[in-house]
């Protein structure tokens, strides 16, 4: 098609028709939206399929699992869940995990908030090096610290307590919290601090009453990350506990016995480990979109 000026009415018409067709081919938002929806749905299916399978197996008896493969439970049973909720060893695993995760979130938050404030507002001797050193702790592979941790916590008498795991997880969670919070705090104009101090606010009062509410979504996202990394970690939690504070992750290894693996109970236990995660995402869902960029867009 030439784009030169048309000279006859006929040429005008054909050119206009061609332009129309071109526009239709290019735009057609309806099909585009369908295609996007379809691709998104495909990804969601990919995410959900393995989880669905876990859910499916958790409602089956071991006989049904090992027998013919069925796409949904034929003899729906809650027996696997009953197993878990009736055995103290099992459900205490969840209680232990949640206990050290909450402890870790509290400890990390309390020490990371002032530290992040210092990094975002002040220059001081060694600040850059300190910040990098902090981040390096996030990069330390837990496997490196297995043996020394075991010895350290054993020596100070904290072995097999919730505090031990909570403190051990501080290794990567505190740096993470400082890093995320620093990003959000830097986004708050310094004039706010100065105005508050002129108005006679003391530092603690300003920090709690004015500053923290301003970085609410940052705190939400930080808590989300703290929960996530403490909840999912297995290696350190397993090494630092034996019976009293055993996390659910290592209780789950009990499903494999001499007589084979108890697939049903394993699936049910797996499903139950996903539930707290869903609750946490649900609570922070409105902050994720804004806050996940960690204040660094």
């Amino acid at each position: 098609m030439s784009d030169s000026m048309p000279t006859t009415p006929d040429a005008v018409r054909t050119q206009a028709a061609a332009a129309d067709a071109r526009r239709r081919r290019k735009a057609r938002p309806q099909t585009r939206r369908w295609r996007r929806g379809l691709l998104m749905a495909a990804y969601i299916v990919f995410v959900l399929l393995p989880i669905y399978w876990l859910l499916n197996l958790s409602f089956q008896t071991n006989n049904e699992i090992l027998g013919e493969l069925t796409l949904w439970p034929q003899n729906f049973t809650l027996g696997n869940y009953a197993n878990i909720f009736s055995d103290a060893n099992w459900y205490m695993g969840y209680v232990n995990s949640i206990a050290y995760v909450l402890m870790n979130m509290a400890i990390s938050m309390v020490v990371a908030l002032p530290a992040a404030y210092a990094f975002s507002r002040y220059k001081f001797i060694g600040d850059k090096h300190l910040f990098f050193w902090l981040l390096t702790n996030m990069m330390a592979p837990p496997a490196v610290f297995l043996l020394p941790y075991f010895q350290l916590y054993y020596t100070v008498g904290l072995f097999d307590t919730h505090v031990a795991v909570a403190l051990a997880h501080c290794l990567f969670n505190i740096p993470l919290a400082v890093w995320i919070l620093e990003g959000f705090m830097s986004g708050v104009p310094k004039e706010i601090d100065e105005t508050a101090f002129i108005d006679g606010y003391s530092f603690p009062r300003f920090f709690v009453r004015i500053f923290l509410p301003m970085i609410r979504s940052g705190i939400g996202v930080t808590l989300f990350f703290l929960f996530m990394f403490s909840w999912v970690e297995l290696l350190l939690a397993r090494t630092l506990t034996s019976t009293e504070a055993q996390p659910i992750a290592s209780v789950m290894t009990r499903t494999s016995t001499a007589s084979g693996i108890d697939w049903g109970t394993l699936s049910a236990a797996g499903v139950l480990t996903i539930v707290p995660g869903i609750l946490v995402v649900y609570f922070v869902r409105n902050h994720i979109a804004k806050g996940f960029a960690l204040g660094r867009t």
Partner: protein, 293 residues
């Protein structure tokens, strides 16, 4: 932001410093201590200098674990980063569908790592797993316990399943930070979909992408629980990555000296790569600030 020079800021840092020192410096010093000694029992120990380091660097088992580790990390980065960007672009922007998709996409991130391994074990087993069973029904002799290729592909799919959401969510929130005016300007200029992506969206994503790649690299380099549960490092040692080799050496064989030396080498590699990323981020922020000023 122009920061004030004030050394009293150290008081705000102090509690955090003490805590991290307790859980990082003391154990790290223990590792350093072990790495230069040969420990027989509590009383007998000899100073060995760099002997363990030399031995570890020449150990073929560890060399191949290191190679596998790099191959794995680079492969999953090459898949997860483009896929994550693509999903972030597809995710709905408002309404109940946005919340629902957000929650579903985040889901894999919050599953304990060993459970991720269990989920994929249950999903890929030939007898009781949907994927393993379907592939066998289709006539492909899928078996992760005997075929290294199957094991590798499965672990990579598992990692993509597990961690692409992180990249996607980072990018999603990066995209949300782009003002609508940019898109309007692009529409007025009749910019194509590709140029909107290339010249508006991608530049705005660089910051979050660097964070995402850094986090992904670090975590993929420490991967332990998922392959441990799924394949146990096998068949043979074809999916034994660094953490697992180290755990075998440290807790299985109690070779304290060599495993301490190995730990330090391992840590230093991660540090080196991460330092490169870190300076890149810092330089980028500096560029941005000078650009805005």
């Amino acid at each position: 932001m122009n920061k004030v020079y004030n050394n009293r800021a150290w008081w705000l840092i102090l509690p955090m410093l003490l805590l991290v020192a307790f859980s990082a410096i003391i154990p790290l010093m223990t590792v350093v201590n072990y790495s230069v000694q040969d420990v027989f029992d509590a009383q007998t120990r000899y100073f060995t200098g760099t002997e363990w380091f030399v031995q570890m660097l020449n150990d073929p088992v560890l060399q191949s674990a290191l190679l596998r580790q790099f191959a794995f990390s680079l492969t999953i980065l090459a898949i997860e980063v483009p896929l994550g960007i693509g999903i972030a672009l597809l995710m709905p922007k408002r309404g109940w569908r946005a919340s629902a998709v957000l929650i579903l996409v985040t889901l894999p991130l919050l599953i304990p790592w060993n459970v991720v391994g269990s989920i994929w074990q249950l999903f890929t087993r030939g007898d009781i797993g949907l994927m393993g069973w379907s592939l066998r029904e289709l006539g492909y002799g899928y078996n992760i316990t005997s075929s290294p290729l199957d094991a590798w592909v499965t672990i990579i799919i598992m990692d993509v399943w597990h961690w692409t959401p992180l990249i996607a969510l980072l990018c999603y929130s990066g995209l949300r930070a782009i003002p609508e005016a940019y898109y309007q300007a692009a529409r007025i200029d009749r910019a194509s979909r590709w140029s909107v992506f290339r010249y508006i969206q991608l530049p705005k994503l660089t910051n979050v992408l660097v964070i995402g790649i850094l986090l992904r690299f670090m975590h993929s380099f420490m991967i332990y629980a998922e392959p441990f549960v799924l394949t146990g490092g096998g068949p043979g040692s074809s999916t034994t990555f660094l953490s697992q080799s180290l755990a075998i050496m440290a807790t299985g064989q109690f070779d304290v000296g060599p495993s301490a030396a190995f730990s330090l080498i391992y840590f230093l590699i991660i540090l080196l790569v991460s330092w490169v990323f870190y300076t890149a981020i810092m330089n980028m922020q500096k560029d941005k600030q000078s650009g805005e000023a």
